[in-house]
Symmetry: C2
Subunit: 375 residues, 2 copies
């Protein structure tokens, strides 16, 4: 594969740090990918997202195929040109959102037929069409179509979905074909069943992908189940390929997954929570809607090196959020993405320095401390 | 009056350009003041607003007294500290929004009692309380409480409101007292009745204010009525004091008012229109929601020196607005405020060069041309 490859610069236990090289730029790992659902990381200018240290963002195939449409984006020069983001982009397959957002849907061996949540129009997604759409978007990393089962679920159902996802993995690889300078990731399924997870991982490794995602987690199960599945799954994946835990997660989930050898993450939490008035900080999540901030002149955390944590009072942020002002969502989204990237930079440095466990312990101490006492 | 004064550097007909000096900075006139209703210019970081050339913004007393509350803002260091805007701020009196936004209200000689549009709670605004609130906010330019009548209205009603506004002007001046380093403006009323406008202007000049606003226009009357009122009113105002046309307006209204000697403007149009998908440009207003933009790779206007007009495709802006994405409102608000400040810079330069009429004619030719033909 041209222009795509992973180098591991350092390891600390199962955790590793390095670089993923793509045709559009290098991704420092472990990496957090801000979610740009509909071709925009909500509430952020693209240069801001880049400036915070994001090497790659995620785009959602489901949303983009419905609006503005994949063929339209292709006609406009692809997703990078369209959205003023010339750096790497990963697109998902669309399958997860078909399951979670669309109305009536019918799954069969060939693919899934569904109704748009926007206008009820009928669409069809198959492994081949998903890869075609991702090609039209011209994303740098593309995902196979899979079927994700919400947990808890009967083993029989989990296994059926995992087996079909493997068949779709083969079809996805065939559809991806000899595409140059782009990468295709397979997705491990198997729910909360260790043997199914291992079987899925080994079968995907046999097919051969540029990277391996772990799907079907953070879908309702407790954290310990998710971590147990990582303990089981990661060792069954090729050592020299990137591992991507889809849709995860809270900062605590991320550091625990890094500890188990995961390299890539995406999650809507920092952006969505920001729009809803929640700030991620060294001292955990702070709900800026809380009335205790109304007269507090202090910033969220003056030791942080980004504007919304350092240069705005809690009272003002509280006012903006309570008033539904755009600037409130803009500032807290900015803060949260800054915090996530700051966390990932800390993770990478700690692994490189061979002190990842200490870093995690210190970081968790901060989260456990909670917010500042009242002024 | 300390630290407040106007110098007129050049005139061209009745139009004039100069500087208004305040304790918090110089305002180049003619000036457009972006509206920061609730302590934020919606969808903009304060540094952006400043960077576009805004020397002063407006805050709404009505909104701020209800949320977060004037005493609270004072306790937090005043509106400038609260909202991270260390430059001049003008606050209105709150009267106009009481009339247009609040629920049940009762006007009497002393003031107005009204119910908050937020929670129905009852509040009282008098000339004295309005000035007290504006003092708590610590705005640089403060407005007398007045009564604004929506046009058309019977002459008797217009005259009654104008006379009461004059009595409130005197009380406002007394309440402002010997406040140092801040300015108080009186407000001309009189509806569409020339003799009442002149009487109001002359009576205000006799009372004596730091500046004179023209209120009760752009409230439903045709543009020619508004301009006729300016033709009548402005000559009755002191030559060496700033004149502020409240709540105006469209770019065409602004240049015509400048032609008649107005120095200051505020309006929600550039910000509100931006949130609703309308771009102000050299070639008039462009509705970015229109389907003709969906596949248009061209920027709004590549000759403009600001990011949203130059660096984003129409297709992308169309997509963002259609999708309700925050970035769409952010980029079009930015564009519109940039265009308004660009227009005011052009106005000032043209007056200084003695070619204001030519500038207006050229500018109107652009607006009349309309948008680019389809690609």
């Amino acid at each position: 594969m041209t222009d795509f490859g992973m180098t591991i610069a350092a390891t600390d236990g199962a955790a590793r740090t390095g670089e993923l090289t793509t045709a559009r730029g290098v991704i420092r790992t472990p990496a957090f990918m801000p979610v740009g659902t509909a071709g925009t990381v909500k509430g952020m200018y693209p240069e801001q997202v880049r400036g915070l240290g994001a090497d790659i963002i995620l785009g959602n195939t489901y949303h983009l195929m419905l609006r503005p449409g994949a063929e339209r984006v292709a006609g406009l020069g692809g997703l990078h040109v369209f959205s003023n983001w010339p750096y790497p982009i990963l697109t998902d397959s669309g399958g997860f959102q078909v399951m979670s957002l669309s109305g009536l849907r019918k799954l069969d061996e060939e693919g899934v037929t569904f109704q748009s949540h926007l206008d009820g129009s009928t669409h069809r997604l198959t492994p081949e069409r998903s890869l075609e759409i991702q090609g039209l978007l011209d994303s740098d990393i593309r995902m196979q179509l899979d079927e994700c089962v919400r947990l808890p679920a009967p083993r029989q159902e989990v296994e059926r979905a995992m087996r079909m996802s493997l068949r779709w993995a083969e079809r996805s690889k065939a559809a991806f074909g000899a595409t140059k300078e782009r990468a295709l990731f397979g997705i491990v399924q198997g729910g909360d069943q260790p043997d199914l997870r291992i079987a899925s991982a080994e079968a995907l490794a046999d097919i051969g992908f540029h990277g391996y995602a772990i799907g079907g987690l953070a879908v309702g199960e407790p954290q310990d189940v998710m971590l147990a599945m990582l303990d089981t799954t990661v060792p069954a994946l090729p050592l020299d390929h990137p591992r991507y835990l889809m849709g995860v997660g809270q900062p605590d989930d991320i550091v625990e997954a890094v500890r188990r050898g995961v390299d890539m993450f995406d999650c809507v939490l920092p952006t969505r929570a920001g729009r809803h008035g929640v700030a991620y900080t060294r001292f955990g999540r702070i709900n800026m809607k809380n009335a205790r901030h109304a007269d507090d002149r202090r910033p969220i955390d003056e030791t942080m090196d980004w504007v919304p944590a350092r240069d705005y009072s809690r009272a003002y942020l509280h006012h903006l959020i309570k008033s539904g002002e755009l600037l409130g969502a803009m500032l807290l989204t900015w803060n949260n993405l800054a915090y996530y990237q700051h966390l990932m930079a800390g993770v990478r440095a700690a692994i490189a320095a061979g002190r990842f466990d200490d870093f995690v312990a210190e970081t968790k101490d901060g989260w456990a401390r909670g917010d500042l006492p009242p002024a």
